[in-house]
Structures are given as C-alpha cells and as structure tokens.
Symmetry: C2
Subunit: 334 residues, 2 copies
C-alpha cells in the first residue's frame, strides 16, 4: 500500500478540487492510501467514503502570500508542514500540495530533506510539445543560482525521471542555450556543455533554443532555475494571452465571428486540450528523499487526480531509491 | 538630409523585400537618402527610380551560418561590413540589416563602435502587449554575461529610447525577475534592484515576471542578455506554435471547422495583426555611436519600411547624441 500525504488546503480551489481529485484517485487505484491534512469539516463536505483515507485535522494553513521560509518555521501546524512531517517520520511516502510554491520547496528541503549526494534538488515539470509527447524541464526555479555541477546533476535527475516515469529508454538531454552551436552561451553554459558532453551515461544532444522547445527538440531540457522560471512563465503568459486575444477577437467580431466560433468550437476545444498538460502531473521537487510534488495553484480535480497518479508511478518505480544508488555510485568516482 | 546605409543582401527575402521597403520609405520620407550595399544587378531588378538612392556594388555577403566575428574580419567587402564602414567614416548616419544577427552585433561593436561611457550596448526591441502599447526589452542577447552596472545602464538606455522614440513622458522601468517582491532573485537581480531603486532619474516600478510582460506591466523591461534571449525566443516559439496548432486544428477539423474558419477569418487576421509588431521597427543595438538596427531575418517590405521609419526617428530626435550627453554627465558623478 502506497501512503500519500495530501495538503487539502493549498491552491485556489481548495479543499474542493483537492478532495474531489483524491476521491477519483482512491476509486481508480486500489494500492494507495491518502492522508488528508486540513480542516476536517470542510474536507468532509466533499470526501467520498473510503477505508483508505484519513483526515488529519488542522486549522492552520500557509497562504499564497506568506514568506516561504518563515511560514514553514512559524506555522508548525499548517496542513502543508504536517504533511511534510509525516513524510519525514515515515508515516507517508510522498507529499502533494497545490499551495505556496516557495513554502513547499522550503518544506521539501528543510523538513523532508535532500538525498545526501544531490547538492540541489531541482524543480521538474513535463511541458507540452506539438506532437503530444512533451518534454521535461528543470530547474524551473528551485534555485536562483547554479553552477555547472548543479546543471549536470539536473541532467542526471531529468534523465532518471524521463526513463522511470515517462518510460523513455534513452531520453535525449538538451542544454537550454542562446544558440545551438557548441561554443554558445555564457561561462555557465560552456562549462555545463563540457560536463554533459563528457558523461557517457547521458544521451546529450547538445544545445537547444527556447524557440524550439515546443517542437520536441529534446526529452529533457536542463537550465538554471532563474532562466527556467523565466522561460516557463514566458510560455505560460504567451499561451494565456493568445487564447485570451483569440476569445476577444471572436466576441468583439460581431455576428459573423460568432457564427464562425460556433462551427469551430470543437477545433478550438481540441487546441485548448493540447495545451492543457495537467495529465502529465505536477512539478516535482526532484532530488529529495521522497516525492514532493506541486500542483498548479489553479488546479482542478482532474489535475490533482493526475498528480496522485504521477506520485503513484514514482513510488511504483522506486525512482527515488534508484537515484540514491546512482548518486552513491558516482560519489565513489569523484 | 538623413543618410541611411542599408545592407541589401541580408535576410531570407533579400534583396527583394529590402529594396521594396526602401522604395516605399523613399516615397514617404523626403528627408532621407539611402545607400544600398549589395549586388547591383539584383538590386536594380526591384529598385524604383529616385535621386535619393545610391547602389554600392559588392558581390560578397555574410551568410546566416557564418561565424560572426570571423565573418566581419575576413569578409571585408561584404555588404553589411561596407555599410558599417560607411557609418564609421561618416558617409552614413545609421545602418540597417536583416542579415546574421551576431555578425551585425560584431560589426556594430567593432566597426561602428560604442559610446565611450557605455560599457555594453544592449539589443533592444519593442514587443507586443495585449493593449497594443508594447514594451521595450533589453538586453535581448548582445551580451551573454552582465553585471548589475550593465543592467543599470540598460535601464537608462531603455528609458531614453522609450522617451525619445516612443514618446513616453515617464517610462515605467521593470526588472525581469522570478517574483515581484523586492527580495527576489539571484545576486545579480538583487544588486540591480538596489541600483535601479536608487536612481532618481528612472521611474523604476520594481520587479516584473515574464508571465505578465504581454499585459504591459512596464514600458521598459531590463534583463541580462542570456535571459532576455531565452524569454524572447520562448514568446516567439509559443506564439508561432500556437498559431500553427490553431491552423492544424482547423484544417484537420473537417467541413464544420472549415465553415467556422471562413466566418472567423476577419477575427483571426486581426489576432495575427495584433501579434505582428513589425510596425515598431527592428531590434536596435543601442549604445553605439550611431543607430544600428536589425530587422528580423524573415522581414517583408513592410517590416523594412517601418525599420527605416524607426531609424529616421532616431536620427530626428538625436537620441544617440543625447545618450552621449547623459552618460558624460553621469561619468562626472562616479
């Protein structure tokens, strides 16, 4: 039985979306047990009957505008912190939250703890490509400053994730850079290029540009957390604004446009679906002693469901245990 | 009379698009003279009669895959290099090219030369916002590594550009960061924040996130060249792929979708127009002794026309001369 701690109070649609996602996951997966941390009365309003779910009542929670490290230290009874404690104490094997990202990163690092040999766990997410395969990118913002050694570790982490969770035999690793030639980039990129190119355990395909990410130029894209965060938010912002503009140009386009939209409805929904990548799960803080996964703050029940599914696969494949072995092996070499 | 050197041979649609853009600019603006550098016979095929245009024949040109610095050194008779030389020698006051970006940056720095007090000219472009006002961003990739002092200079450069070329009285300057709070970011961002916040000549509005750029959170957005390049290419790549997906979902959507698209045509064109920001001109390597402006490689005649218009405004307002004065003044203070 896989035991998953779920912060019921994090995110814009909590606890309803969280609990409804949990209901669906419990119905579909008979090998999981869920611990729901949060306000019992509010949770019960949405929770379906199951023997495999427990509510751990708490009234404290971390807000989206709380200062992360401070919140983790001071709000010892917050739903997110209690969930992280349960993982630390071995009562649960993984943690899911749709709450404050910074606080979850802090809870992951300071409560759950990192794997000894990994200097900096990275935030990893699977993002959409036009062919529907998707690609994994890290670091998406766990660390503002990185060295080439950290980026090399991200590549190993990403490769492990793509193999174990996405089932790719030999994931292509790309280094995000400002040009595809080997000589491109700043010192960090040049040093990282050399490390990746010299590691026979990685299928390194060279530099990739941000323009080509959605075309599937690599299965795993490695970058520093500052750039990764900026690129992720650029993609999100552009997609949201374009879809918004499309909507505006239809609604302000008069009768003709409305007739057009009516006939085009199915195609537009298909486009929206192809951008909705919630079925790939949430963003993993990868490199910790256990899976700690962040759902988008605006997650609905479906996104929560798929994130539980993702965590289940991470526990099934024992990807974290394998990471420990891999890094222990490399440690000997250094 | 303003004298503008134009590389007739750079870009995917050269020389036709370049020459046709020049024709239109000469017809509309009676105060410009154009020097066209490139293959005379090919240029003449498209050039309209005008007393204010000269062809400087050369058969050499820089290709899009040439190594920039090497190309500038070795291809001394290339159309782009001859144009830069003309600016250096005072025969022309500005240079336009749609060719190899790296080579144009190198020609700008090593042939035209930077303003003494500006350590690192930055690549600046006006990008679209949903309200149609646009925002200026720099550095978009002229420099892979930057210090806080450089980013501060970019802010001053961007503010000058927005005032003089876009006519904004008090441009709002934003620092691209991984969160809006003042404490966010890496050392470079924190140091830059302090410099921008402490400069009374700037209307600094704080940190801005990549997700909000298209919403017009600032008139000028400052970042290092590595991040700027990644963000620009992320926006471009997402927009291109989304529009492509939209097209695919229509063409593969059967008769119903095609009827819809027929009725929606005007609205979809309007959307495409709102993304097409070529009327704002090209990307300026700002901080040089003269305007050096890069058109997108895929520029059509309209984009070339608007870039000439932009250069004309830069010469009209003497924005480069004012930059020299401003930086000379600041130099005394240090």
């Amino acid at each position: 039985m896989k035991k998953i701690a779920v912060d019921a109070m994090g995110g814009d649609n909590a606890p309803q979306a969280i609990v409804e996602g949990v209901n669906q996951a419990l119905a579909d997966f008979s090998d999981i047990e869920i611990q729901l941390y949060g306000d019992e009365a509010k949770i019960k309003r949405y929770l379906s009957d199951s023997e495999r779910v427990t509510i751990i009542h708490t009234e404290e929670k971390i807000n989206s505008d709380d200062e992360p490290a401070k919140a983790i230290r001071r709000k010892k009874k917050a739903s997110m912190v209690l969930g992280a404690q349960a993982v630390k104490n071995g009562e649960a094997q993984a943690l899911l939250s749709a709450g404050n990202t910074g606080a979850l990163l802090a809870a992951g690092l300071f409560v759950v703890g990192r794997i000894k040999q990994i200097d900096r766990p990275g935030l990893l997410s699977t993002l959409p490509t036009v062919d529907g395969q998707g690609f994994d990118m890290l670091d998406l913002g766990a660390n503002a400053e990185s060295t080439a050694k950290h980026l090399h570790q991200y590549a190993v982490l990403g490769s492990f994730y793509a193999k174990n969770i996405r089932g790719l035999a030999n994931p292509r690793i790309g280094l995000l850079n400002n040009g595809t030639e080997a000589s491109k980039g700043d010192t960090l990129r040049k040093d990282t290029y050399a490390l990746l190119d010299g590691d026979p355990s990685l299928h390194f395909v060279g530099n990739v540009e941000a323009r080509d990410l959605m075309n599937g130029v690599a299965d795993v894209v490695v970058t520093d957390g500052f750039t990764g965060n900026a690129v992720l938010k650029s993609i999100e912002g552009t997609a949201i604004n374009l879809m918004g503009q499309l909507k505006t140009s239809i609604t302000s386009g008069g009768l003709k446009a409305k007739i057009g939209a009516f006939f085009l409805k199915d195609s537009l929904y298909k486009l929206k679906d192809s951008l909705d990548y919630s079925s790939a799960g949430g963003a993993v803080l990868f490199g910790l002693k256990a899976p700690v996964v962040k759902c988008h703050g605006s997650s609905d029940a479906k996104a929560v469901y798929y994130t539980i599914k993702q965590i289940r696969t991470m526990l099934d494949t024992n990807v974290v245990g394998q990471l420990v072995d891999e890094f222990a092996k490399n440690e000997g070499k250094e």
